[in-house]
């Protein structure tokens, strides 16, 4: 391998054109790819939700067939979790982590590109099921033995299991990459306890990813073996216990919900200080509670299984561990309140979403706390009360946090601000509509409406509350449309932002918007948690923008994309036919070897 590297002299000119996007290894571009793709899937997941709500608008409705309804909520849950919220978070990781820690890129840029492509292919594969004999219809946690060949003879479950495996590869690759990036690529002086909170939450999330995904991988491998080779992992007749699936799934599933929320918590921990003009209150405590939540998340999984009948001892154990998580989460909430307390709060859209997050997430967290008490949960589980809980934490929490992040960092990404007026409209529409949609679900659940039913009888008293929920969705749609309009308008006509439109404290605000390909002209040295708010600030900005010497950036590569394609073909052969495996294997091997031996500096 050549020892002389062609030193590219900065500023590096960004290339353009489709091929440059396919071969890009620039974390910022990959972040944008992640974000736009995930947003499309958010719309698809929302469309599925809208159809469900229309079906539930009134009793005995016949808009969709029961089987299609089952496909809708399965794909809605799977899409929102794996194809919308996780990749939206990944988009923030990608765009921001190197900027926030003062790096030129992530530790493994091509692995990063690989993550994106395999996510994209996996997502497309999963959704192809709609056109090839029916989407999965067993719920997003696909309890066995309903998923067995006997009870789900079609290909839906195969699409689901293989699709999740492919997506798992993407998440794992990203998880490893961000762990190493954060631990190893920090600018000089950026000690762990000087990392922005978002970086910390990314680190915790990445650890959760690399430890939780192997478990579901194994659970899905069992399922695929059962379905394709006739093994007995979940076959009761052979003495197996289908509850094993539940344990393995929730062993993954509960850490997964923290994978969904911690990034959003990280985002608002950046937004709140900026718009309160005050540093984050109790930074170390917020960091530790985040770590503690991540760790505790491993000891609570059976709270999803209280109805299984695990016995009073196990129920009590998991109830107590679950309740315990309320403490570190509460600590975060109170520290956020401490942050705005005594501040000078500017109600920019990003800040509204961050405040809305606190309000709505608390709501969702408290209904979660009610679930944590097994006797109470036995009335609530598998009813709309759970649906209310998950949407307050996921929509009111994760999605609102992500919107806060979009408004906050849009100027950094595009160089222009999002329109503030439309933003405020977006927020209020969204805030009201989400409560109209999801608040009644608490009651309709307590009043006895189970989840995952495509219809209900007229005399049950569920009618008007369901109608209200359905009406609320149109508010959400309106809000999302306002947002989309805002984005498309602001991309062209938005106010030019400059490097630091909000007076942020962290490194990404030291450099131009959008940042140059190499991010920092010279990697600055950091002396504090919020460097731009300190006396070092102006000096640091100067350093960050001064080109100190030759900069070399890794060249683009199409091998990550090729490898991702190969792996997807290989695995999708399980559904489409073994012959697909042949090009799959060939492309994969060729891609990986070419990638491994490709000179990259």
């Amino acid at each position: 391998m050549a020892t002389t590297t062609a030193a590219i002299h900065a500023p590096v000119q960004a290339e353009s054109g489709l091929w440059s996007w396919i071969t890009t290894v620039d974390h910022k571009r990959i972040g944008i790819l992640y974000g736009t793709t995930a947003f499309v899937f958010f719309l698809i997941g929302g469309l599925e939700a809208t159809i469900m709500r229309l079906q539930l608008m009134r009793p005995d409705n016949t808009l969709v067939s029961p089987d299609f309804y089952n496909e809708l909520f399965t794909m809605h849950g799977t899409t929102m979790i794996f194809l919308a919220v996780m990749p939206l978070s990944a988009s923030f990781f990608n765009f921001l982590i190197p900027l926030m820690i003062g790096a030129r890129d992530v530790a493994f840029p091509r692995l990063n590109a690989f993550s994106y492509w395999i996510f994209l292919f996996g997502a497309i594969f999963l959704n192809l099921s709609f056109f090839f004999g029916g989407a999965p219809d067993v719920g997003w946690f696909g309890y066995s033995n309903l998923t067995s060949k006997q009870f789900s003879p079609g290909h839906g479950v195969d699409f689901w299991a293989v699709g999740l495996q492919i997506l798992g590869i993407a998440s794992l690759a990203a998880g490893f990459n961000f762990i190493v990036t954060i631990v190893n690529m920090r600018a000089p002086g950026m000690k762990l306890m000087r990392m922005p909170l978002f970086v910390w939450m990314t680190l915790v999330t990445s650890f959760l990813i690399i430890l939780a995904f192997p478990v579901i991988t194994v659970a899905l491998v069992f399922l695929l073996f059962d379905r394709f080779t006739g093994t007995n992992f979940y076959v009761p007749a052979a003495g197996a216990d289908p509850v094993l699936w539940q344990h393995l799934f929730w062993l993954f599933g509960h850490p997964e919900v923290y994978i969904l929320i911690l990034p959003a918590m990280g985002i608002i921990s950046e937004v709140l200080p900026t718009f309160s003009r005050k540093p984050l209150f109790g930074y170390p405590v917020v960091v530790y509670s985040g770590i503690f939540i991540g760790f505790m998340g491993w000891g609570v999984w059976s709270h999803h299984m209280f109805a299984v009948g695990l016995g009073p001892l196990a129920d009590s154990f998991f109830a107590l561990t679950t309740m315990l998580i309320a403490i570190p989460t509460g600590v975060k909430i109170f520290n956020w309140l401490g942050t705005i307390w005594g501040g000078r709060i500017e109600f920019k859209t990003a800040m509204l979403f961050a405040l809305g997050f606190i309000a709505m997430f608390t709501m969702g967290g408290l209904s979660g706390f009610m679930h944590a008490s097994p006797p109470a949960d036995l009335q609530q589980t598998d009813t709309y009360f759970v649906v209310a809980h998950i949407h307050y934490v996921l929509y009111g929490g994760a999605i609102m946090g992500i919107f806060a992040g979009i408004y906050y960092w849009f100027p950094k990404i595009t160089g222009r601000k999002l329109g503030e007026g439309l933003g405020q409209l977006h927020f209020w529409l969204n805030f009201v509509a989400l409560n109209v949609t999801f608040f009644p679900m608490h009651f309709v659940g307590l009043l006895g409406m189970p989840r995952r039913i495509y219809t209900y009888a007229p005399h049950m008293g569920f009618d008007w509350m369901n109608l209200l929920s359905t009406a609320g969705v149109f508010g959400i749609i309106a809000a999302v449309l306002v947002f989309m309009w805002n984005v498309s308008r602001s991309l062209r006509h938005g106010e030019v932002a400059g490097p630091d439109p909000w007076g942020g404290a962290t490194l990404e605000w030291a450099i131009p918007s959008p940042p140059p390909a190499h991010n920092f002209g010279t990697i600055p040295t950091v002396h504090s948690l919020d460097p731009l708010w300190h006396r070092e600030g102006p000096e640091l900005v100067k350093t960050a923008n001064r080109i100190g010497g030759p900069i070399h950036m890794p060249p683009g590569s199409h091998w990550p994309m090729a490898s991702a394609l190969g792996i997807t073909l290989l695995l999708s052969g399980m559904v489409f036919g073994w012959w697909l495996g042949i090009p799959g294997v060939l492309i994969t091997l060729y891609g990986i070897y070419s990638w491994a031996f490709e000179p990259c500096t």
Binding site: S65, P66, N70, L146, F151, P236, G239, D241, P242, V243, R277, K278, P279, F281, G282, Y283, A307, V308, G309, G311, P312, D315, A319, A326, G330, V331, L337, I340, W341, G342, R344, I345, E346, A359, T362, S367, F369, M370, S373, P374, P375, A376, L378, Q379, Q380, T381, D382, T383, Q424, L425, L447, G448, M449, R452, I453, Y456, A457, H459, M460, G461
Partner: protein, 345 residues
């Protein structure tokens, strides 16, 4: 387009959420309007849960109000005003941190203790004198057996008031979940396992219930009813169920129906004591005594029974009963079969 955000909007909204909605809700809330409500306990078990839920709700509402109040207060009080000085960069406060760790921990204890007590109380072994019921979940209907009484029925569970009922739960296919909200929490029905649940109904009445775990196409149509009866009434019901099926008088439409029934394929799946021995579908020995059929989704009248027999899967998606056409029977036979089934009181 510019929108001025007034903090008042926020406050009013929260006030509306907090007070108006729940109040409106409680006002209009009664068992009649919400027959499947989990907030109207009619058994000891449901009552224990209700008590616990009230404590939980109490604390949760307090925490909710405190957090939202602090949030709204801070948002208003500390909004940026022209000329306001730069805020002091406070980095934290140890006393506060300890305080807001301990306060939730205390509340947590106050909730955890009754939680654990209720877990053990409600999962204790049932009283000796309990009525034994064996429940079997099927895609998509419930089978009820009284092993000590020799009764098998479907979709409607009869129990006497004030007597503990000990239910053992099994499934013939996939996981279901057994749930009568008025009687208490649900319990999953899992292949290869026998689950248990017991409660003592405290009030006479009819309570709807429903399968609560996704179990395939007609999960939504897997309903059932609990008939809590006065002891005499229950005894009468038992006595009637224990009788052999009524033999239709020769020459009647019902007798004709019986002939169709036994000559057709119905007997492959359905049991009528002394007549047929199928076990795939519900036991029809006393089907005429039920108020509903097919997982409680249709009234048990001649019209619905007829439509059901003609094409069950068309009436209930996925139903694992053949349509008349697939059984090579003709619609002309239906009125007779219906008459026969209705005669099986």
């Amino acid at each position: 387009m510019r929108f001025r955000t007034h903090p008042m909007m926020f406050r009013r909204l929260m006030a509306a959420l907090l007070v108006v909605l729940p109040l409106a809700f409680v006002a209009g809330c009664s068992m009649q309007d919400y027959p499947q409500s989990s907030l109207h306990p009619h058994s000891n078990y449901a009552q224990w849960i209700q008590t616990l839920l009230e404590q939980l709700t109490f604390w949760v509402v307090i925490i909710f109000v405190v957090v939202q109040a602090l949030l709204i207060y801070a948002a208003i009080r500390f909004r940026s005003r022209p000329g306001a000085p730069d805020p002091k960069p406070i980095h934290g406060n140890t006393a506060l941190e300890i305080g807001w760790t301990i306060a939730p921990a205390l509340i947590l204890t106050l909730v955890a203790v009754p939680t654990v007590l209720t877990i053990f109380k409600s999962q204790a072994p049932p009283p000796e004198d309990a009525l034994q019921v064996r429940v079997v979940g099927h895609q998509w209907w419930w089978e009820f057996q009284y092993p000590d009484l020799g009764i098998t029925t479907a979709s409607e569970l009869h129990v006497p008031v004030g007597v503990p009922v000990n239910i053992s739960l099994e499934t013939a296919d996939v996981i279901h979940s057994f749930w009568f909200p008025a009687m208490g929490g649900k319990r999953d029905v899992i292949p290869g396992r026998t689950n248990r649940l017991w409660f003592t109904p405290s009030d006479i009445g009819q309570y709807p219930g429903q399968c609560a775990e996704l179990c395939g196409t007609s999960h939504a149509n897997m309903r059932m009813a609990l008939m809590v009866q006065a002891p005499e009434e229950f005894q009468a019901w038992v006595a009637a169920q224990q009788l052999p099926p009524i033999e239709p008088e020769a020459g009647t439409l019902a007798a004709q129906g019986k002939q169709y029934f036994t000559q057709g394929q119905c007997i492959v799946c359905h049991m009528i004591q002394g007549v047929s021995a199928g076990v795939i579908g519900p036991n029809l020995t006393h089907v005429g005594s039920r108020t509903t059929i097919a997982g409680g989704i249709f009234p048990n009248d001649a019209a619905d029974l007829g439509k059901w027999i003609i094409n069950a899967p068309a009436r209930k998606p996925g139903a694992k009963m053949l349509s008349l056409k697939d059984m090579a029977m003709s619609p002309e036979q239906v009125p007779a079969i219906v008459a026969y089934l209705q005669s099986l009181k």
